[in-house]
């Protein structure tokens, strides 16, 4: 069974009574332990697709199966639970809470996870900060960090609840070459570690790291 399977996915918006088709007849399979690159022109629906996989949006028709379960059928609270347990998100603009420290940002998704008590949450936070090499910066606020550092915080945060799936929407869009390399390597090592990593990217570099590139 694939980690994620999309069957006959269609997405359209109705604006001023006019139908705009964004995604048409999408059939895709994503496996654990692999890094997928999604490329395509601006407006091709890459973000839309990623949001649908991440249960933040849904198809007009079609199915999304995660571990064999049709997520579109789920109730809102169950979808929220599925996101908490299985999915980590990384965004182009990092999307950190500007009024929380590095530590607090990374800790935030763990509060709703019964798996952690206070001690184990703290331990995991420290470990994650260490993984992304930001231990000396743990008390800093996002605005005191460089773009690359902020994206590392975002990756650490995406990993907080040990998800099987990492969805990254242009994670290197705001970064220089050096940092782009670092982030791609990080995402690659996550896929090597068994996670299913899906990266939307405009960068040609993605082809070097991805096991499979999907063009929309």
């Amino acid at each position: 069974m694939s980690k994620i399977e999309i069957i006959d996915g269609n997405k359209e918006y109705v604006k001023n009574k006019e139908k705009i088709k964004i995604l048409e007849n999408i059939n895709l399979k994503f496996e654990s332990g692999k890094l997928y690159g999604i490329v395509g022109e601006s407006g091709a629906g890459k973000t839309t697709l990623l949001n649908i996989i991440g249960t933040l949006d849904s198809f007009t028709s079609g199915k999304v199966l995660i571990d064999g379960q049709d997520v579109i059928q789920l109730k809102e609270d169950d979808r929220a639970r599925l996101r908490m347990e299985k999915i980590g998100f990384v965004f182009q603009e990092f999307y950190l809470n500007p009024n929380m420290t590095v530590e607090e940002n990374i800790e935030q998704p763990m509060f709703i996870n019964e798996k952690y008590d206070k001690t184990s949450r703290r331990e995991r936070t420290s470990k994650l900060i260490e993984t992304v090499n930001l231990t000396p910066r743990r008390k800093h606020f996002p605005k005191e960090l460089s773009g690359g550092e902020q994206q590392r915080v975002a990756i650490a945060r995406a990993l907080a609840n040990e998800p099987d799936i990492i969805l990254a929407d242009e994670p290197t869009g705001n970064l220089d070459k050096e940092n782009e390399k670092r982030i791609f390597e990080m995402l690659q090592s996550l896929s090597k570690g068994g996670k299913c990593v899906i990266v939307v990217s405009h960068s040609s570099k993605i082809e070097e790291y991805a096991d499979q590139v999907i063009k929309l």
Binding site: N99, M100, E107, P109
Partner: protein, 270 residues
């Protein structure tokens, strides 16, 4: 979790402005709540002074020695002869303590004067209106009608100001709370992405609002006490007995209602 959330809300500079607004509004609100008792107290003092002066004058005349003016100041006089039925009706009016009939021998003719003792002179207007409805007319036994008239006018003005201030501060606080939640949209979205349930997010927002409002209330009360001490106590030299239960209740409503309304705005529907 709440601790981190609240810390982040308090670190947000624009929220500091809202808290400052809350401080001012709660101070104004509580000043407004003091206006009515202040007016009442002010007039109580006038009535007391009035009765004292009258008493001193009467005491000089030996035949009036037994008359207690401070009691009579709370008394309505009815000269019309009352039926037994009317008497019971009158005794059942709120604020009426008792009905007393005095027989006065006026040059061989016996005249009945009926005194209606009230719990407070401030209830004259209320009881008089009830008497009017029964077709009976009464007038204050000793109290100057002018005092009653000016009390009635000033009390109405005070009431209007009080309600206006309460409504205005409530509305401004509601608008502030809505804006606070609107400014939190990005973080709300983030929490949804992490998989926080909607009910949990609402709970977080509610606690955030309540925290900010309570901080506003605490400093607002301090500011109010300061204003009260300087203006009322020092300048007017009046001490007012506030209705503590009512003040707590109104402050609580003004904290809970805006917080409750703000978390139900439609922007929460993803």
């Amino acid at each position: 979790m709440m601790k981190n959330q609240i810390k982040s809300v308090l670190r947000n500079k624009s929220n500091i402005i809202y808290i400052f607004t809350f401080v001012i509004l709660f101070a104004i609100l509580n000043v407004a709540l003091t206006i009515r008792p202040l007016v009442d107290q002010y007039f109580d003092n006038i009535v007391e002074e009035y009765s004292n002066t009258l008493q001193t004058q009467l005491n000089k005349i030996s035949s009036y020695e037994n008359i207690k003016i401070d009691e009579l100041a709370k008394t309505i006089q009815i000269s019309k002869e009352l039926t037994d039925e009317q008497k019971t009706e009158i005794e059942n009016i709120k604020h009426v303590e008792r009905l007393e009939i005095q027989k006065i021998d006026l040059e061989g003719e016996e005249v009945h004067i009926q005194y209606l003792y009230l719990d407070d002179w401030k209830n004259f207007e209320y009881v008089n209106n009830r008497l009017d409805a029964l077709g009976i007319s009464g007038s204050p036994a000793v109290l100057d009608e002018q005092i009653l008239e000016s009390y009635s006018t000033i009390r109405n003005i005070a009431n209007t100001i009080q309600y206006l201030l309460i409504i205005v501060s409530l509305l401004v606080i509601i608008v502030c709370c809505r804006n606070i939640v609107k400014n939190e949209q990005k973080n709300i979205k983030l929490l949804q992405i992490f998989g926080y349930k909607k009910s949990k997010i609402k709970q977080i927002l509610f606690v955030e609002q309540i925290t900010m409002l309570i901080i506003g209330l605490i400093f607002g009360i301090v500011l109010y006490e300061l204003l009260y001490f300087l203006l009322v106590h020092e300048m007017l030299n009046i001490s007012v007995e506030n209705n503590a239960v009512m003040m707590v209740a109104i402050n609580a409503i003004i904290i809970l209602l805006p917080a409750f309304l703000s978390i139900h705005i439609k922007t929460l529907k993803s």
